[in-house]
């Protein structure tokens, strides 16, 4: 019975294999988690412990003070603008509409570019795709110059109609900017997804008498969940984390998104850099995106599989 031996040796071989694989995965997991771990433990330590102690050690007497400070007020001497708490809501107000609008527009564009092609659709798509690659720094000045006229427009409207339609609002500006510069990506994602979406379904709906929008709303949208997940995650992370546009267009102050506040906390240079507060603030700023990735991570890979990667 030679096969018994060979099969058992094969078994041993696979067991060894498994150990190596799991080992490697675990090591990488540790490496990837390390910065997060450090941030997390540091954020619960006192400054004394941080200065004296080991970066990786667990806090000996954990304190939530840094978190409270980061959240409620991160500077000393009582002259602060408060922590980043107030800015959380600013970020939400900006992110949610920006993500929704850019995703929806991306979906519509993807729909038109795959299911309602017209001569030149490739050029249009190519141009939208190329737009993903421009360095954003180079649009700051022209964009703000343009927004000046938007502001004027808003003022004029306010003077004449009594309502400015939100035109001079920094939040509106930020939403607008993020929508414009997110369009390339959302369109790309949806186009690739809808490219693989059966034409026959669209045709069936057409024969069934559905209109352009009905087809989109009743047939394509309900079947776009995977790519919606990918796009929303992508856009949400990018917009939430953006600092450049936030610093340029938020007008600063009370309208600033989270990242700006975080930057002020982190770059605040009191005598001692309060690492624990910095880390806590960084964690707070990252919580929504972390949450999104962890909760929707599975759908993310699935969504990528469903077409986004074909690029």
């Amino acid at each position: 019975m030679s096969n018994a031996a060979s099969s058992s040796s094969q078994g041993a071989y696979t067991t060894l294999n498994r150990i190596v694989i799991y080992g490697l995965l675990a090591i990488f997991a540790v490496v990837y988690l390390m910065p997060l771990f450090v941030m997390l433990v540091t954020s619960f330590k006192t400054m004394d412990e941080i200065q004296g102690g080991n970066m990786l050690a667990l806090p000996t007497n954990p304190t939530v003070a840094p978190w409270l400070k980061a959240w409620g007020g991160a500077c000393t001497d009582g002259v602060c603008n408060g922590g980043i708490a107030g800015y959380f809501w600013n970020s939400i107000k900006m992110v949610v509409p920006a993500v929704l609008i850019s995703t929806l527009l991306g979906a519509l564009n993807g729909y038109v570019l795959t299911k309602w092609r017209f001569p030149g659709h490739k050029l249009v798509f190519g141009m939208m795709l190329f737009a993903c690659f421009i360095p954003f720094q180079s649009v700051l000045l022209p964009m703000s110059t343009l927004l000046r006229y938007v502001n004027f427009g808003g003022q004029w409207l306010e003077a004449n109609l009594g309502w400015n339609f939100g035109l001079p609002s920094p939040t509106v500006h930020l939403v607008f900017v993020h929508v414009v510069y997110g369009l390339g990506f959302t369109t790309l994602f949806f186009r690739n997804y809808y490219e693989a979406f059966p034409n026959e379904l669209v045709r069936a709906a057409m024969v069934d008498g559905a209109s352009f929008f009905q087809i989109f709303r009743r047939i394509l949208l309900p079947n776009s969940l995977p790519i919606f997940v990918v796009t929303v995650i992508y856009q949400f992370t990018n917009i939430w984390n953006d600092f450049l546009f936030a610093s340029a267009f938020s007008g600063g102050g009370d309208n600033s998104p989270m990242t700006l506040a975080l930057n002020n906390v982190v770059n605040t240079t009191t005598g001692v850099i309060e690492y624990n507060v910095n880390m806590a603030a960084a964690m707070i700023a990252a919580i929504p995106t972390l949450f999104v990735y962890i909760v929707a991570g599975r759908y993310f890979v699935r969504g990528l599989m469903a077409g986004a990667v074909k690029g």
């Binding site: 990837y32 141009m127 180079s138 649009v139 352009f212 960084a282 990252a286 599975r298 986004a308």
Partner: protein, 314 residues
């Protein structure tokens, strides 16, 4: 492929039935829907590119200027390209190092992790978000964490000294010849999980019968990957390349947050250069010219890709 009404047929038959306004509207609807997005892109991307080009030929310093200054800015950049002391030279060399390493290591690591994760791993649901989460963090957060982690006086080095490995030395972030590599490390840490997800999706899409065939053909696991699977991931490599390339080119915040461009000016990237010269140094024309050159560099890589990609597909 789309349905487009043509009234030529009707005209030919002479039947007096003209499409009404509603029908015309229906026909134009797709274009109407696409138009706002396209116009936005046209204005705010291509319009602004034109504007940048315009500025690069002006004598703009701290404010926009309409005075034509010829190719002065470009001449400057051209001169600086070959002067190793100049920031522009540093930035160009750095983007070379950074882009190559960042893209290569991200891809290699991403692929490696994806392959490991594809071995019917039990805890995949737990591991995947662990590799993926850095993508969720902003560059500021990444910078803060890594700046600290890599600081010889505070971070890893210090910790290992604590643990008794006193000879351990890792001060790349303080070393002008090494600092750009710390940017690579942080960048890779941040993006490799995303690449991993892309590859994982690709691996999941490979026909299992093909792997059976390869097994019967006598290929071992390594040969299967090298000869059969990885070559088939070509489109994913391309997409990953595009994603990474654009992130590499746009990398700006990471440098600022991690090294502040230093030590000295040793970790500058072109986007830092552009930003600095446009906004801080009152040399807007030079900054714009550098932006134009960056765009040309990007076009040289992306346009052929886009062209082939869009032409192939029917």
């Amino acid at each position: 492929m789309a349905y487009v009404t043509t009234n030529t047929g009707l005209a030919a038959t002479g039947v007096p039935r003209r499409p009404g306004f509603r029908e015309k509207l229906q026909d134009a609807l797709p274009k109407i829907v696409l138009a706002p997005s396209f116009v936005l892109i046209l204005l705010f991307v291509y319009g602004f590119i034109l504007w940048t080009i315009y500025l690069s030929f002006s004598d703009a310093t701290s404010a926009i200027s309409n005075t034509f200054a010829g190719t002065r800015a470009y001449e400057k950049l051209w001169r600086w390209t070959f002067d190793p002391v100049q920031n522009w030279h540093t930035a160009i060399v750095n983007i070379g190092i950074f882009a190559v390493l960042y893209i290569a290591v991200c891809m290699a690591l991403g692929l490696f992790l994806a392959i490991l994760l594809d071995q019917k791993i039990r805890g995949e649901g737990v591991l995947r978000p662990i590799y993926l989460y850095p993508m969720a963090l902003s560059f500021i957060v990444t910078g803060v964490a890594w700046k600290w982690f890599l600081d010889p006086g505070l971070g890893l080095e210090q910790t290992l000294h604590h643990w008794g490995w006193t000879s351990f030395h890792f001060d790349w972030i303080k070393n002008k010849d090494r600092s750009i590599y710390t940017v690579v490390i942080a960048g890779v840490w941040q993006a490799s999980g995303f690449v991993m997800a892309m590859f994982l999706a690709g691996l999941r899409g490979i026909d299992s019968e093909m792997l059976k065939a390869a097994q019967i053909d006598g290929a071992n696991a390594f040969q299967q990957y090298r000869r059969i699977i990885i070559p088939q991931l070509r489109p994913i490599f391309l997409s990953a390349f595009i994603v990474l390339a654009h992130m590499a080119i746009k990398s700006y915040d990471l440098v600022v947050a991690l090294t502040g461009g230093g030590p000295g000016t040793s970790s500058w990237l072109p986007s830092n250069f552009m930003y600095e010269y446009t906004f801080q140094r009152a040399q807007m024309a030079v900054g714009s010219a550098s932006a134009v050159i960056m765009l040309m560099g990007i076009s040289a890589i992306i346009v052929p890709y886009l062209y082939s990609e869009l032409r192939e597909k029917k």
